[in-house]
């Protein structure tokens, strides 16, 4: 019976990784669409929203069935537990991508301020964290998670700096307000995605070591 479960878990992990890749590309594409004012690309992100929701449900169902049928323990149980939590975080990331894509459509007709402040740079950093958390999950190793607390601090600092820069533009010219409020909201979404990357990292840490940690 144990070997059957081991095979099922491999499958489950690969499903979660596929879902992770989808969430990451949605986020990347949403920010790219915003930057290049490409409404077509933004629309494709919106279309992928249903796919990520479907994956969330399918993986949850599969994981729960594995618990019911195979009574997993030890590392098997920890992997399933991590997967069940991860898919929620990945769904949230996908939803933020969708929200950013919606904003990209709204902001497609006027040039951006100051090359979109630091949003693309911040998005790269966040995507890097999600990628590393997924790599750690795939290889069941802790190395990619090593400096997550510092990286999350950097994300928080970027959010704050975008916030302040946007306020400056709003004070300069009231016509900037709509755009700048969108920038602030997007930065806030990215900051949340960074937090989700940290939560994923915590679950991977639990899966690998059996110990619960909190990344602050």
């Amino acid at each position: 019976m144990g070997e059957i479960l081991v095979g099922k878990i491999k499958e489950l992990k690969s499903d979660v990784l596929d879902m992770g890749k989808l969430a990451v590309t949605m986020l990347k594409d949403a920010v790219e669409a915003l930057k290049s004012q490409n409404t077509q690309l933004a629309e494709t992100v919106l279309d992928r929203k249903t796919e990520i929701a479907r994956m969330d449900e399918a993986i949850e169902e599969k994981a729960l069935r594995m618990i019911a049928l195979y009574h997993p323990v030890s590392r098997d149980m920890r992997t399933i537990a991590a997967a069940l939590k991860m898919i929620t975080y990945l769904t949230r990331i996908g939803r933020y991508a969708k929200d950013i894509a919606k904003t990209a459509v709204l902001l497609a007709n006027e040039p951006h301020l100051s090359k979109l402040v630091e949003i693309p740079y911040m998005a790269d950093k966040v995507v890097g964290m999600i990628d590393d958390a997924l790599t750690a999950f795939e290889n069941e190793e802790l190395a990619p998670l090593e400096n997550f607390a510092e990286r999350d601090d950097e994300i928080d600092a970027l959010y704050y700096s975008i916030f302040r820069e946007s306020i400056t533009y709003m004070m300069e010219d009231a016509k900037n307000i709509t755009k700048c409020i969108h920038y602030i909201i997007i930065a806030r979404y990215l900051e949340r995605c960074g937090d989700h990357a940290c939560k994923i990292a915590e679950k991977v840490h639990y899966m690998v070591t059996g110990e619960h940690i909190e990344i602050k």
């Binding site: 144990g2 070997e3 479960l5 081991v6 997993p72 323990v73 030890s74 149980m77 059996g210 110990e211």
Partner: protein, 254 residues
């Protein structure tokens, strides 16, 4: 007086030249269920039997090291084997009530032989008490003169447990007590053990990790005569430290 019901110190057991228990050390606190799990042939039953000196019956068996019952080495000098066995009740894999004795007599015999109770009234009340403790009284109260053949496998096993409890032991040793019992009987016996641990220390041998995870507080994993790992059950099943334990509980130990 030790805080541990059972403690072993470098306990080794050999049959002839073959060492089957290779220096085992552990401590079993009082009033808990301790499960000894491991694959067939790893030495679980041998280890269990050493705790009430059942191995004395096997001429080939040699025991060294110490096995302490409430702080006293049962392999020490001047130890009265009978008194050790009275303190430690044993239940085997196959329910073994005496087939030629009634339900009542199955329990009475040990009490009579050991002159533990005086008079019919005391005997009656002790037998009812034991059946009650074994959660069997309601099912057999009106047929104490029937023979055990009328009972289901699970009921037979609970009758055996009642027979053991009647002697008022401090420790119960059970060697795969549900191996020959159906799921309902298994559930009844497991519930009974959960109840009995309030008053007794229970050591359970099982080849089924799921049973250990359901009802034990502590678990020891025995493999090829060595105690690979022991600890609180939840920890062993969530996060075992040893690779072999991990593979065993997950069911992938070759």
């Amino acid at each position: 007086m030790s805080n541990y019901a059972i403690e072993t110190r470098n306990l080794k057991i050999a049959y002839g030249k073959k060492e089957v228990i290779k220096g085992v050390n552990f401590k079993i606190p009082e009033k808990i269920v301790f499960a000894l799990m491991g694959p067939s042939g790893c030495g679980k039953s041998t280890l269990l039997r050493s705790f009430n000196r059942l191995l004395d019956l096997n001429k080939d068996a040699r025991v060294s090291g110490e096995a302490l019952l409430f702080g006293q080495n049962i392999y020490g000098e001047n130890v009265d084997v009978m008194s050790v066995r009275r303190e430690i009740g044993m239940v085997f894999q196959y329910p073994n009530p005496f087939p030629h004795l009634t339900i009542y007599e199955n329990i009475a015999i040990g009490l009579r032989l050991n002159k533990i109770v005086q008079g019919r009234e005391e005997l009656d009340s002790r037998i009812k008490w034991a059946l009650e403790k074994a959660s069997l009284l309601d099912e057999v109260e009106d047929r104490l003169d029937d023979y055990p053949s009328a009972l289901s496998g699970g009921q037979k096993q609970r009758l055996v447990i009642a027979r053991v409890l009647a002697m008022k032991p401090k420790v119960l040793l059970l060697d795969e007590p549900t191996a020959n019992v159906d799921p309902v009987g298994t559930k009844n016996i497991e519930n009974l053990l959960m109840e009995l641990k309030k008053e007794y220390t229970i050591v359970l041998v099982t080849h089924e990790p799921a049973q250990a995870s359901r009802i034990s507080d502590y678990v020891g994993f025995l493999y090829l005569g060595e105690l690979v790992e022991s600890g609180p059950t939840a920890r062993i099943f969530e996060n075992p430290k040893h690779e072999l334990t991990d593979r065993y509980v997950r069911g992938i130990l070759a």
